[in-house]
Symmetry: C2
Subunit: 389 residues, 2 copies
């Protein structure tokens, strides 16, 4: 074997193409590198796409894709139950080979339309699982007919399973972050008067607001999930406040009130100290977490604490959590008060919108009264003393 041949071999060395998989690149870059790899063998494969499934909404969404050339792929989103063929692939846990996509063109489903619009003639669809949990699909497409012969399918299957493992990896990161933050929140709560159920409700209420704001404010799915994940940590700084102040039943003196207020500053300091340990959180995520902890007692009109900032200067995530936190405090029982009826609490939010609260956050929250009540029902107080997870 001459040097020239050796050199040529190195150029197409599959291992050097694949080695990018293990750099810090994101999933999209990883898919691109897998497409490049598979095209060395089967140049007629033009696209790899990953669609994720969200079981709470039954929605299948394109998560990411690698597509050859400049052909832009419109993101699609559909209910799984609306696609009979995808549902079948999921239920039977078996891939589907289509070597002629023409029959799909006559189908009316959103999914079939979107897929055939792109001009592909063959497709191979592999369901992804983690244990029994269905995660979504990997789609391979080719612009030629009969592309998915047995040997091609075998090669694509390995790639599909590699992608499956990459997805499991990403999910385990998110799951872990949730687990970490929930555990810390529960521990912090051990000394608090409030129950774990309060934290769960605040978490859900915050998500309602963020989700309803998302479209007009251009918030990403990821941001909404981070709000949901981090909202229960808003009072974590209370762990550092002395019992004498934290557990006092009567009215606080001015000095004690200052100590109590310090929970926002102390909380942010904690997170800053923890930042080394929390290396699994990205700097952006950490910023959101710190903003919630530090600024959830600021008021829209600048009369809150610790910085007396106002309006848009208060980070959105803190404005969201503040509405959720106060609403839940009002509708919960406390040693010194009965729970307010939902109507009365809503009146309070409406009255204080534009002074205490971001008016838009209040309005977006109240768009879903049914959902609010179902959260109150689902996560009601238990009589167990101490914490409840």
């Amino acid at each position: 074997m001459g040097l020239h041949k050796l050199h040529k071999q190195q150029v197409v060395d599959p291992s050097s193409i694949l080695s990018n998989l293990h750099n810090q690149s994101n999933l999209t870059e990883k898919l691109q590198c897998l497409l490049e790899f598979i095209k060395q063998r089967h140049c007629f494969i033009n696209r790899i796409a990953v669609a994720r499934y969200d079981e709470t909404t039954d929605i299948i969404k394109t998560y990411t894709h690698a597509t050859e050339g400049k052909n832009p792929i419109p993101l699609y989103q559909t209910r799984l139950s609306e696609s009979k063929s995808l549902t079948e692939i999921m239920e039977q846990r078996k891939p589907r080979i289509l070597n002629n996509m023409n029959p799909l063109r006559s189908l009316k489903s959103e999914h079939s339309k979107k897929v055939t619009e792109l001009g592909f003639q063959s497709s191979y669809t592999v369901p992804m699982f983690q244990g029994d949990q269905f995660l979504g699909f990997v789609f391979f497409n080719s612009s030629i007919f009969n592309a998915m012969k047995q040997n091609v399918v075998t090669d694509l299957t390995v790639i599909a399973h590699l992608i499956n493992v990459l997805i499991v990896n990403e999910l385990s990161f998110i799951k872990t972050t949730k687990c970490l933050t929930q555990s810390v929140a529960t521990l912090a709560n051990y000394r608090d008067l409030e129950t774990g159920q309060h934290l769960i409700r605040v978490s859900h209420f915050s998500r309602i607001i963020a989700r309803n704001l998302a479209k007009e404010a251009g918030l990403s799915d990821e941001y909404v999930e981070l709000i949901f994940t981090f909202a229960p940590l808003h009072d974590i700084g209370k762990i550092a406040v002395a019992d004498a102040v934290l557990c006092k039943c009567g009215k606080l003196t001015d000095e004690e009130f200052i100590m109590m207020q310090s929970h926002t500053t102390q909380g942010r300091e904690m997170i800053e100290k923890l930042q080394n340990n929390l290396e699994l959180l990205s700097p952006q995520s950490c910023e959101i977490l710190k903003n919630i902890i530090y600024s959830h007692h600021e008021k829209w009109d600048g009369t809150g604490y610790p910085d007396k900032i106002s309006g848009d200067a208060i980070p959105l995530e803190a404005r969201i959590t503040s509405v959720a936190d106060v609403f839940d405090a009002l509708t919960s029982k406390r040693i010194y008060k009965d729970p307010w009826p939902v109507d009365k609490a809503i009146d309070y939010l409406m009255e204080k919108r534009g002074s205490q609260f971001d008016a838009n956050c209040v309005l977006k929250f109240l768009e879903n009264r049914d959902e609010i009540e179902s959260i109150i029902d689902k996560f009601h107080e238990t009589y167990e003393p101490g914490i409840t997870i």
Copy 2:
């Protein structure tokens, strides 16, 4: 295509073989499934093995393997620097193809000997990375010469990268668990008189004991790492003890002492409550963690608390942490005392071996006096008030 042919195709359906990858199986089972898959195409591949690299010791260890037939593979362990060829593969980040392993037989290195003893004639070795961090190797072996032709190598390369992603997954689980437990320990410590440095030292001291005990007690590498990970959590229950008791400088009354002692019970309760959140920890790991928290104040002669159990009835992990914790308390400065010199603290451990402490744990600890002193040096107290991570 007749039904018979379709049935036959399903039997060797590569996707059904690979679907086991995403069940709850461990890495060994996953390798077996990958070997089965690759043998469908290249029946002469007889073995896949994964070796992990530990950079603190420069040791390469067989982590797991799948080997065809009953041929038992002796585990080997070697310093990476002792194998010139493996070092080269690692440094150049390029796989190595060997289609004739005979030349290896004349080499004297431990690694070459072990590999050729197995009767393999061809091998393909792929280094694993996560970003710039070298993780180890994937080895493929065949008992025939010239097995590693280009198309075989390409197939094996995808498998190697799939294994690389699986390893990254396992590591991220361990990293996460450490991160979670350290963060919680640091938070719990926020109200405590002790510093974060104390927790780090106890962690290292505990690992010395566990490691030195490992051979005679048959402890796994995993157990030793869990001890290291969980030791800093031993006092987590103090988060639930009132300030008045926890922060009291003078002698505790009997009643206060009982409250202080309750940190073991409270700590275990916390972990039990958290167990749902800590779903990333296996039940076995959770048991070890709870034993450390609940029983680290038991004494060998049965005079400790909370259960007054004695001898072997005290879980080993609690006996280990107890020696490490007391030794560090003695050699550290406290408000009420100067740090003891190392010699005096060692005398104390020796005097109390067999009464307060498991004598064997004390002896194994003292085998490494140099290491103990280097840990004291490395993680000495800082003057920053509050916590130190």
